[in-house]
Amino acid sequence: MMKITLLFFATLRSLTGLKTLELELPPESRVADLKIQVAERFPQVAPALTQTALVSVNREYAADDLVIPDGAEVALFPPVSGG
């Protein structure tokens, strides 16, 4: 298993009640696999994860098919609204 650090922001932080979570994933897991695991653990964020939620891996926007490297910093958040 590999370890990643998961960060939540904005609505996803409010819904999970968590800022960070250390998570174990099978090697070669993709972003899509992570979304499934997170949705099972936190059903309240499942709609956001299948619709608009964005994912960054090591601080770059990532698509569902990206293989997550061991030790990655992964963040889940809604489309941004700064300014």
């Binding site: 964005l54 601080r59 770059e60 963040a75 809604p78 609204s81 700064g82």
Partner: protein, 156 residues
């Protein structure tokens, strides 16, 4: 002048924005023009004749990624308007009340007609697309996270 010599500021801060100090930091001896965009917390938004009131906005940022994406926005500005000298991109976070500046995009250049206006406009538009910052609107009847519409591509 090499682009590496150009002053650049990318900051997420809880402190009040000091526009004069930021201008001084992005001014070179060759600078003759600066364009500033600053956004403010709007206390009243008129809709259908009924003004909903905002008590305050609560800003949150993914700071290390946000500062990296601000740097990327500045690189995009320099590719499009190579005459730009200094660039400052600053977002204030935390609880911000109406009439308070929240964000600053400032660009300097030798003259006003080589892109400073367009560069500042581009900067705020891109910040609202790719820089990971969010705001929650708090009013008399509750609060609501504001979500953008733009979906960045992988690696954007």
């Amino acid at each position: 002048m090499n682009a590496n010599d150009h002053p650049a500021i990318f900051t997420i801060t809880e402190d009040e924005l000091d526009l004069d100090a930021l201008l001084a930091e992005i001014t070179l001896p060759s600078t003759g023009a600066a364009c500033f965009f600053t956004g403010l917390v709007r206390g009243r938004t008129h809709k259908n004749g009924l003004p909903p009131e905002t008590e305050y906005l609560e800003y949150e940022a993914y700071t290390p990624m946000a500062e990296a994406k601000m740097r990327q926005v500045a690189e995009e500005i320099r590719q499009r308007w190579p005459t730009i000298e200094g660039i400052a991109i600053v977002q204030r976070v935390g609880r911000l009340y109406p009439m308070t500046p929240t964000v600053l995009i400032a660009c300097t250049a030798p003259h006003r007609d080589t892109g400073v206006f367009e560069a500042a406009r581009y900067g705020i538009d891109r910040l609202k697309e790719i820089v990971p910052i969010w705001k929650k609107e708090v009013g008399p009847v509750g609060d609501e996270w504001i979500e953008g519409k733009y979906i960045p591509k992988a690696g954007e």
